[in-house]
Amino acid sequence: MTAVIKRARPSVAADPAHWSTVPALALLLTLVCGVVTLALPQYAAVTVLALVGVVFVVGMQSFAGNSGIFSFGHVAFMAIGAYTTAITTIPEATKKILFPGMPEIALPAPLALVAGGLLAALVAALVGIPLMRLNGLAASLGTFALLNIVYNLANNLDAITGGSTGVSSVAQGLSLTHALAWSAVALLIVWTYQQSGHGLALRAAREDDVAAQSLGVAIARERHISFVVSAFVCGLSGGMYAQASGSFSPSSFFLVATFGFVTMLVVGGRLSLTGAVLGVLSITLLREGLKVVEQATQYTGAVEIGMSAAMLLTLLLRPLGLMGTAELVFARRGESR
């Protein structure tokens, strides 16, 4: 058994919906993170944050990839997850002094993450009612408006969110193992959705909305389901971010984050789960490399320009990203052809 990249080719006898994509990706992440942690211990924090990115981008891919609608608003769901986790896990004594207005709810860490995911899913269920009736660019811009609304709420609901200065003293500690485990959970959720009848119907609508309607696909409803699932996963990633970083502010979940994640998905390949994972890994690598360059040359801005160039080059040279529609799977030699 070797891991191979499988492309859908004519008269390929293998199933593109292969069971092994999730285990293969989980193994890939474990190997990459293991090697980086052992070889470059100073990058341990970066590695954990990259896994937060994996959960987020995989969540965003489940909507953008299956529906064909790019979202500029999913970082709002990350914010909801992060604030939920912060509010429910900041120790009570700290909360009384620093954030007296916060609701007095306390949850154990894993439950706090799930609560953040559920709250994000609930928000998606509500805003999705009008939003998912829009098509194409209008829907994308609608998600962008959502991002701005959540950003401004976080900035101005001082009592609950700590306002523009943000939140600190979140019970810290997202171990690499936990981050890997959550990544596997996210991959499994998204893959299961993708392989369900709902995921398939939505991909059909992505390919040809008229034909999909003619076969009874209720497009707005299918988009809505996908939106809720992806919001849940992105909410989880927000909780992970809160735990990993310990402190954050509304601007942590705004334009810079959105651009970074969108770049990852575009570069990796929005139609592929493997693409989402590889996008995070490759852009993280690029970003960290350019940071070294920035420090050495005192030239600030190299990171942003480099990432923008990566996005531009991808759009020009390989519009469907590194992966296209291919997925990583385990296959016996020869099975992939």
Partner: protein, 246 residues
């Protein structure tokens, strides 16, 4: 006389001064193939759009199995058993052939597994099992048309509207498609309506033919009757264009 599975009465559709469909009735019985013909611009595709819910009539009503479906969306009509195909096949390009059929079978069958086994049956029926894992975009135009037809059948329709199945196909492909169409009509409980320019296809497949011209029905009858109808000859073949299609 058996009940019509699909019927429409008094359909009218106007576009900015042009009446594309002008007071048209139609009826299709289970097991029957109705041919819909007429010169370019006669209103055939508009009529199909009205019947299938991709466009709404200004007046008139559409019935499926006795129920008024005039106000239902295209997707709702499809889930009730009224399915169409398209001139360009409109295959889902980045889905496999099998997935194309599974999408269609799912709303009726509910479970993914049952939809998949239905899809596999139909792929075998259409003799395209070898292509089941091929992405739709890699198929030839003729094969796309066949897959499009099988995909429509996978939805288990009680009425099926087929828009120009043979357009752009070569003779071999066109014959293959005609055989599949007549096999489907004989083996499944479906009422079919076929729009087609190729008179050979229409005359060999259809039990009844309805002729439109300038949005109006000018004749309905058996293929033989239609072939001899003077109004049809004038409208359809013109006085000088000869007999190219007949």
């Amino acid at each position: 006389m058996t009940e019509d599975i699909l019927s429409a009465t008094g359909l009218v559709r106007r576009f900015a001064g042009v009446t594309a469909v002008d007071d048209v009735d139609l009826s299709v019985r289970t097991g029957e193939i109705l041919g819909l013909i007429g010169p370019n611009g006669a209103g055939k595709t508009t009529l199909v759009n009205l019947v299938t819910g991709f466009d709404r009539p200004d007046t008139g009503r559409v019935f499926l199995d006795g129920h008024d479906i005039t106000r239902l969306s295209a997707a709702q009509r499809s889930r009730r058993g009224l399915v169409r195909t398209f001139q360009g096949a409109r295959i889902f390009g980045r889905l496999t052939v099998r997935e194309n059929l599974v999408v269609s079978a799912l709303p009726r069958l509910g479970s993914r597994r049952r939809a998949e086994s239905r899809a596999d049956e139909l792929l075998e029926y259409g003799e395209v099992t070898a292509l089941r894992m091929t992405p739709g975009e890699r198929l030839s135009a003729g094969t796309q048309r066949i897959v499009g037809l099988l995909r429509a059948v996978a939805a288990q329709p009680s009425a099926l509207l087929i828009d120009e199945p043979a357009a752009g196909l070569n003779e071999v492909e066109s014959d293959q498609l005609s055989r599949l169409l007549s096999a489907i009509s004989e083996n499944m409980e479906i009422g079919m309506m076929i729009i087609e320019h190729d008179m050979k296809v229409i005359m060999s497949l259809c039990h009844r033919v309805q002729v439109l011209n300038h949005g109006r029905t000018i004749a309905v009858g058996s293929p033989d009757e239609i072939r001899r109808d003077p109004a049809v000859l004038t409208a359809y073949l013109g006085s000088s264009s000869g007999n190219a299609h007949a």
